[in-house]
């Protein structure tokens, strides 16, 4: 089961590596991870996507709580109001010839993706959406053109409504 864990922690040297280390020590896998300082730059927020049932997520959440640098941990699945989650994707595609360039441009319009860099032979596409939508977009592009490279940010998530992850 797909699980998103959000962590607030002291923005200190080594704090991120303690979090990452804990996942491997306890036998959990990180599918993707994002980390950056919050509006208070002494605090960082990490979002981790992992797989596991509720019991194993509760266990890793407790272990994360134990880390001295960690201020708050929450599984984003906890909330009945739901969450907003997004990921960003860049794709560099080979785009030679008018027809292909039109086709890719059309796909971008349909998906509401953007072309952010253009050369005579290449496009760089930018797409912001849920992980599942990004998978679909990637598939649609790959069916039309040669993908040179891709990069994804990993998931960012936040609770809907008034529920927040405060320090």
């Amino acid at each position: 089961m797909r699980q998103i864990i959000s962590i607030l922690l002291e923005n200190e040297t080594g704090a991120l590596s303690r979090v990452v280390g804990l996942f491997s020590q306890r036998g959990y896998n990180i599918e993707n991870i994002t980390a950056a300082p919050t509006e208070d730059n002494t605090i960082s927020r990490i979002t981790i996507l992992t797989q596991g049932d509720n019991v194993s997520v509760e266990r890793i959440t407790k272990q994360l709580h134990k880390l001295v640098n960690v201020i708050k941990v929450s599984s984003l699945e906890d909330d009945s109001q739901g969450i907003v989650e997004r990921e960003i994707l860049f794709i560099k595609v080979q785009c030679i010839g008018h027809t292909l360039r039109e086709e890719i441009k059309n796909l971008c319009d349909i998906f509401k993706a953007e072309i952010v860099d253009v050369t005579p032979e290449l496009y760089i596409l930018q797409y912001v959406n849920t992980s599942a939508e990004i998978d679909r977009f990637l598939k649609a592009i790959a069916e039309q053109a040669d993908v040179i490279e891709t990069v994804r940010s990993g998931v960012c998530g936040i609770f809907r409504g008034d529920h927040a992850l405060h320090s």
Binding site: L9, E10, T13, G14, S17, R18, G21, Q25, E58, R59, K62, Q63, H65, K66, V68, N69, V70, I71, S167
Partner: protein, 569 residues
């Protein structure tokens, strides 16, 4: 106003934190600290002979005294040599502060001489760690380290100090009354009131209750309240290896240790219990046997300060997060408030059942007039010390024989590596205990395998006059591994014979100590008394004993608590 170097601030901070003994080993990166130590009148430095020994000594000091143990080693190999000791302390939740030298900050990451990523190497086995970036970090981080090591669920904290942070050229005003402020760390001592009420109710209704204590009860100094609760409710009490002594081993209500080499009565009682009140335990695999078959009939009330320990292996029906002593205080209050009176007679049937199991006398063994049995040694030592000595052990058969046959009446009297199972732990731990408790009789019970893993500390004992008594159960084999080879590997004895041991008596003398050998059962009591009477001497008593002795009873693998191999005699 005098300005101080980082090294001077380090020593001053340790003094302010009340450190009286520092176990250490010098080296290049900590030269400035050692120089500053010369000017301290409050801190006595104990020079070990290997950094692993040094860190275990600080651990033994911490376990025996209840205070934070501190050690100081140099960078690189000095730091890596402490890794086993740090892991040992981590597994047993021991408050330890390990100060490691580090190469100067400009050299970090350059593969400099004696450089190693100490914080990285120790990350999975510390409660927390610090890498100082400036001299002023030293007092701040040390104060935090002491607070972290001792509070909540205790554990080891590493403070890595680069050489340029302690050098004499950078001097600062010493920050006097610095407070420890950590917004991300607030251990919760108080138990949830509602949960405690529920626990009181379960306790009042139970027909087959068992009280199970562990190392957490030692750490939180809960012995008085454990005893009161147990006596008020006439509860059978069992203990993990780490909890021995919290409840008196000589009390009629004590069933002995539980688990793999626990007593039959303790394990059967767990198996048939309808309520297990577990205090400061973590249900590790040496205790539970098969988790699926663990205490099938019991509601489990689990009190622990570490939420991550609750429902980690064994699901808790009633979890209470909090300090054992505090929660027991709340529980006793609730019991009084609600007027719950113990109906001692209600447990009569349960006790009758327990006495039947106890009647089996599962710890009995056959004495031999010609050959000393290892159990004889522990029983004789128990008699000779009136059960009051601090006993450090190594790991293996002798460790289990101590747990089974030495009845500990007080906590902090058994020092043993329970979680990590570190051979080589016992001797330095005994040294640390004797340093911390100079008026106590401190004995090491060890084996010929384990003892040779930190034997170099004999030299430390001579220099600092640390007269521990060493009882070496010398069976010329790695007894516990051999036992498993005999039981589970069709008797194929692989690399467990120790046929090239040194002459331990001669070795004791070579190091400037006393030693003698005992080979006949009739000489045993006299030899032990003689060793104990030599108050100011370290004595090695080399007890040649039965190679084929087995630690029994023993749980059958993947079985329930009560599925045990018993002694056939």
């Amino acid at each position: 106003m005098t300005l101080m170097s980082g090294a001077q601030m380090l020593v001053r901070t340790l003094e302010d934190l009340g450190v009286d003994h520092l176990f250490g080993y010098p080296g290049g990166a900590v030269l400035d600290i050692y120089d500053a130590l010369l000017d301290s009148k409050k801190i006595h430095h104990v020079l070990g002979r290997h950094e692993q020994g040094v860190a275990h000594e600080a651990d033994g000091y911490a376990r025996a005294t209840g205070r934070v143990g501190v050690c100081l080693v140099t960078s690189g190999p000095g730091a890596t040599n402490t890794v086993t000791a740090i892991a040992t302390a981590y597994m047993d939740s021991i408050p330890l502060v390990v100060i490691t030298g580090q190469v100067g900050t400009p050299l970090i990451g350059s593969d400099a001489f004696q450089e190693v990523d100490t914080v990285g190497i120790t990350r999975p086995i510390v409660k927390h760690s610090y890498l100082c970036q400036s001299p002023l970090d030293i007092p701040k981080y040390l104060r935090q380290a002491f607070y972290l090591a001792a509070s909540g669920r205790p554990g080891p904290v590493v403070v890595d100090v680069p050489k340029d942070c302690v050098g004499p050229s950078r001097r600062f005003e010493y920050p006097e009354d610095q407070q420890v402020v950590m917004r991300s760390y607030n251990p919760n001592l108080l138990g949830h009131r509602g949960q405690i009420k529920r626990a009181a109710k379960l306790l009042s209704e139970a027909k087959h209750p068992v009280l199970m204590v562990g190392g957490g009860a030692v750490i939180s100094k809960a012995a008085d309240k454990v005893r009161k609760l147990a006596h008020d409710f006439n509860l059978p009490v069992t203990s993990t290896l780490m909890g021995l002594g919290v409840f008196p081993g000589t009390d009629r209500q004590f069933l002995g240790m539980l688990g793999m080499h626990g007593t039959y009565e303790a394990n059967e009682a767990m198996d048939k219990a309808d309520l297990v009140l577990a205090l400061g335990v973590r249900f590790d695999d040496r205790v539970t046997n098969s988790v699926q078959k663990f205490c099938p009939a019991a509601k489990i009330v689990h009190v622990d300060i570490d939420p991550a320990s609750i429902s980690k292996t064994v699901n808790a029906d009633l979890p209470i997060v909090g300090d054992v002593d505090t929660v027991l205080g709340q529980l006793l209050e609730t019991i009084e408030e609600q007027g719950i009176v113990c109906d001692k007679d209600a447990l009569e049937g349960w006790w009758k059942q327990i006495e039947q199991w106890r009647h089996l006398d599962c710890l009995r063994y056959k004495s031999d007039p010609q050959l000393i049995q290892p159990q004889d040694v522990i029983r004789s030592l128990y008699k000779a010390t009136s059960g009051r000595a601090i006993i450090a052990t190594d790991v293996g058969q002798h460790q289990m024989f101590v747990a089974q046959h030495y009845q500990f009446d007080e906590p902090r009297h058994l020092l043993t590596s329970g979680g990590l199972g570190t051979m080589g732990y016992g001797f330095p731990a005994a040294i640390g205990a004797k340093v911390g408790c100079p008026d106590e009789t401190v004995c090491l019970v060890t084996g010929d395998g384990s003892f040779q893993m930190n034997i170099q500390e004999l030299s430390c004992c001579l220099e600092f006059n640390i007269p521990v008594k060493i009882f070496l159960l010398d069976n010329h084999t790695l007894g516990m591994v051999r036992q498993w080879q005999r039981m589970f590997y069709r008797g194929r004895i692989s690399s467990t014979s120790l046929n090239s041991n040194p002459d331990f008596v001669a070795l004791a003398k070579a190091y400037g100590h006393e030693g003698f050998r005992v080979e006949k059962p009739g000489e045993l009591d006299g030899a032990i008394r003689k060793a104990l009477a030599m108050k100011d001497k370290l004595v090695i008593v080399d007890v040649v004993c039965n190679t084929d002795a087995m630690v029994l009873p023993m749980q059958q693998m993947r079985g329930s608590m009560g599925d045990m191999f018993l002694n056939e005699d």
